[in-house]
């Protein structure tokens, strides 16, 4: 018996070590705000990531892909520390994150120094990728979104006068507002009033009452969901009948629909993705179906983009001899051309993504697809 035991043990060990040797694990770090004021963004994004990972968690060569998620609590220092930990302790090959531009920029230096590629799903500020070699994104930049908004306002909505509401606490808002102003003016539009709000404000009645006296016809407000929802509700309560155009931040959190209620009907918004837009790729259809089946709800734009960040990294890994070679993976990420992702067709140039934007209108408490704008 003793001999048999020994033989069994040794062969078990051999098999075990063999399996450890052959099926390696490649790690991708994920930094997202899962708690804190923008925790909703992170949760939505992560859901998409989870579904995509469940659909495809093995590389072509059999290695498994492991996701390591760290919650950066919507905080900059946490983002930096998380990146540091992922790179040196967990030894990840790539990082997906960190949703907002400010938090992403807090960790790009660390990633650049360590030569670890970062793929940002929705960080839209132009400075995120500028002059970086290891940072890419799958979303369009504020520059593109601002122009799309201005074009839509002038050409489709035929509004030559606009009120601009900027959230001065939000670099996202400031960035888009600046581009919108420039593009709108170039197309012949006039900004009749510039309003400033702060994230976290809840009472906009004083500001809106002032606006009401001007009888505005069109308001562009690149702000986040909470503020957008409250502004919408209070504006309608005060009897303001203007058309509103928002951006992807507006519908980023469901609370916009819940808090705004009936007030947000008829609002327009630019966005990165729409579930009921005609699907442009195979993967898009499959992903949408799988997501709805697994999570019982339709996928949020952030979720799809997180999924595509994952897809692009995996595709890059597959092209490398050693999928854990971060320099090679980065090179391939940056060379992505016409990738058929879950959110559409993406090409990456100097870290920036060339992709189309969507325009939605809110109907019956949901976003309804209107049109696509191609770069």
């Amino acid at each position: 018996m003793k001999l048999l035991n020994k033989v069994l043990t040794i062969s078990a060990c051999a098999m075990l070590s063999a399996s450890i040797v052959t099926a390696k694990e490649v790690k991708i770090g994920v930094i997202m705000p899962m708690s804190g004021p923008i925790g909703g963004f992170g949760q939505s994004a992560n859901k998409g990531l989870e579904v995509m990972h469940s659909m495809n968690n093995k590389l072509d060569n059999g290695d498994t892909v492991k996701l390591i998620l760290i919650d950066n609590k919507s905080d900059k220092i946490e983002s930096a520390n998380s990146a540091s930990k992922l790179i040196s302790s967990d030894k990840v090959t790539a990082i997906i994150g960190a949703l907002t531009s400010t938090n992403t920029m807090a960790m790009t230096k660390i990633a650049e120094n360590a030569k670890v590629p970062v793929v940002a799903p929705v960080a839209t500020n132009i400075l995120v990728t500028k002059r970086k070699e290891y940072v890419s994104r799958v979303c369009f930049s504020d520059a593109f979104q601002g122009e799309v908004a201005a074009n839509f306002a002038i050409n489709e909505l035929k509004q030559k006068e606009a009120v601009l509401i900027t959230d001065v606490k939000l670099d996202y808002s400031i960035g888009i507002a600046k581009i919108f102003k420039r593009a709108y003016k170039k197309l012949g539009g006039k900004i009749v009033k510039n309003v400033r709000i702060n994230s976290g404000d809840t009472d906009f009645k004083a500001m809106l009452s002032n606006l009401k006296a001007m009888k505005p016809k069109f308001i562009f407000f690149p702000v986040y969901s909470s503020e957008a929802g409250l502004i919408a509700k209070q504006a309608r309560q005060l009897g303001i009948k203007a058309k509103f155009l928002g951006t992807d931040g507006m519908t980023a959190d469901k609370v916009f629909f819940k808090a705004g209620g009936k007030a947000v009907e008829g609002f327009y918004g630019t966005n990165l993705f729409s579930s009921d837009a005609p699907k442009t790729t195979e993967l898009s259809k499959k992903f949408d179906d799988t997501f709805t089946k697994q999570k019982n709800e339709s996928v949020h734009p952030f979720g799809v983009l997180a999924a595509d960040s994952y897809n692009i990294i995996v595709a890059a890994m597959n092209k490398c001899k050693d999928p854990a070679d971060n320099v090679c993976v980065n090179k391939n990420i940056r060379a992505t051309k016409n990738f058929k992702g879950a959110s559409g067709v993406i090409s990456i140039e100097n870290g920036d993504a060339k992709r189309s934007a969507i325009i939605n209108i809110i109907e019956n408490g949901k976003e309804k697809y209107l049109t696509t704008v191609n770069p």
């Binding site: 708690s35 804190g36 004021p37 923008i38 925790g39 909703g40 949760q43 919507s74 001065v168 309003v195 400033r196 709000i197 702060n198 976290g200 404000d201 809840t202 009472d203 009645k205 004083a206 500001m207 009452s209 002032n210 009401k212 006296a213 969901s225 909470s226 929802g229 409250l230 509700k233 309560q237 005060l238 009897g239 959190d253 609370v255 819940k258 808090a259 209620g261």
Partner: protein, 298 residues
């Protein structure tokens, strides 16, 4: 600005001011009796709002029942806070109490954060509160009328309690000199508990009204509101409940007025409360009404 807009802004000011007033009363009462700035007071308001949210959303009870639940929850929270965190430190240096209050405040915020998640929650008030009433060009919603009326009503009841009942007298005595009062045979801990009950209940009402008017709740929503309400209490005269209400209205009006008249300063709106606070504390710490004014009138 034209007359209609002026009326509209006036209404906005009343609406905002009365909510600050409701919360300011709690601060002023606790400070009057314990000489403690209860940093956690605004978080009790937040807890009440979340309790109501939970009751409406998950337990699916009626709005009235949810309000009652919220008031109960905040009263219990207030009493617990006092018993657990403040009572043991009754005879310690004030700095310890203050730090503990900050700790309790953070604790409440983070417990709610962990339990409900930090993402903003939307509060489902009954449709009634959304009805729009037109008043020759200016529009109002029912809350704009209900909140100030309720505030004044509650204030009157409170003043009655404070100046015409035994318990009220005990509270005022404690505010005057807490050490001697216990020597007189009054159970100071019980009276303090009553103060916390009243203060927390008022905060709960304020919280519900806030949730109805601005239906987005986050665990940290109490922070700014609390500081502003405290500024209002100091402005009106710390220790005086009618002062707190007065301070609340002044602060509400000023915030609205600044945005209405100087829209470019809109971003500095939050700093107004602090400016008031600093000016009052440095120049006339007893505030506008001061405790003596109230005493002499009632």
């Amino acid at each position: 600005m034209d007359f209609i807009t002026f009326i509209q802004q006036l209404i906005n000011g009343i609406s905002l001011g009365s909510m600050y007033a409701l919360i300011a009363i709690g601060y002023t009462m606790v400070y009057g009796v314990l000489r403690l700035i209860n940093f956690a007071h605004a978080d009790i308001m937040m807890v009440a709002a979340f309790a109501a949210f939970f009751a409406i959303d998950s337990l699916e009870v009626s709005f009235v029942l949810a309000t009652i639940i919220a008031i109960l929850v905040s009263v219990v929270t207030g009493i617990l806070t006092d018993r657990v965190a403040y009572k043991p430190l009754r005879h310690s240096p004030r700095i310890s109490l203050l730090i503990t209050a900050i700790g309790v405040s953070f604790f409440l915020e983070n417990i709610v954060n962990v339990t409900f998640g930090g993402t903003p929650k939307s509060f489902n008030a009954p449709e009634f509160f959304d009805t729009i009433i037109e008043l020759s060009g200016a529009t109002l919603t029912p809350t704009v009328i209900i909140v100030p009326v309720v505030t004044v009503l509650l204030l009157s009841i409170l003043l009655f309690i404070l100046y015409r009942t035994k318990y009220g007298m005990a509270i005022r005595a404690l505010a005057f000199d807490i050490k001697t009062v216990s020597l007189m045979g009054i159970d100071s801990n019980r009276i303090i508990m009553i103060v916390f009950i009243i203060g927390s209940a008022l905060a709960a009402v304020g919280g519900i009204f806030w949730a109805i008017s601005y239906p987005i709740l986050t665990p940290y929503m109490g922070v700014m509101i609390g500081l502003k309400a405290f500024a209002a209490a100091v402005l009106g005269g710390i220790g005086s409940v009618s002062g707190a209400v007065l301070g609340g209205f002044i602060l509400g009006f000023t915030e609205v007025a600044v945005v209405a008249l100087y829209p470019e300063l809109g971003a500095y709106k939050d700093a107004i409360a602090f400016v008031f606070l600093i000016i009052v504390l440095v120049l006339k710490p007893t505030g506008i009404m001061g405790i003596n004014f109230e005493k002499s009138r009632f």
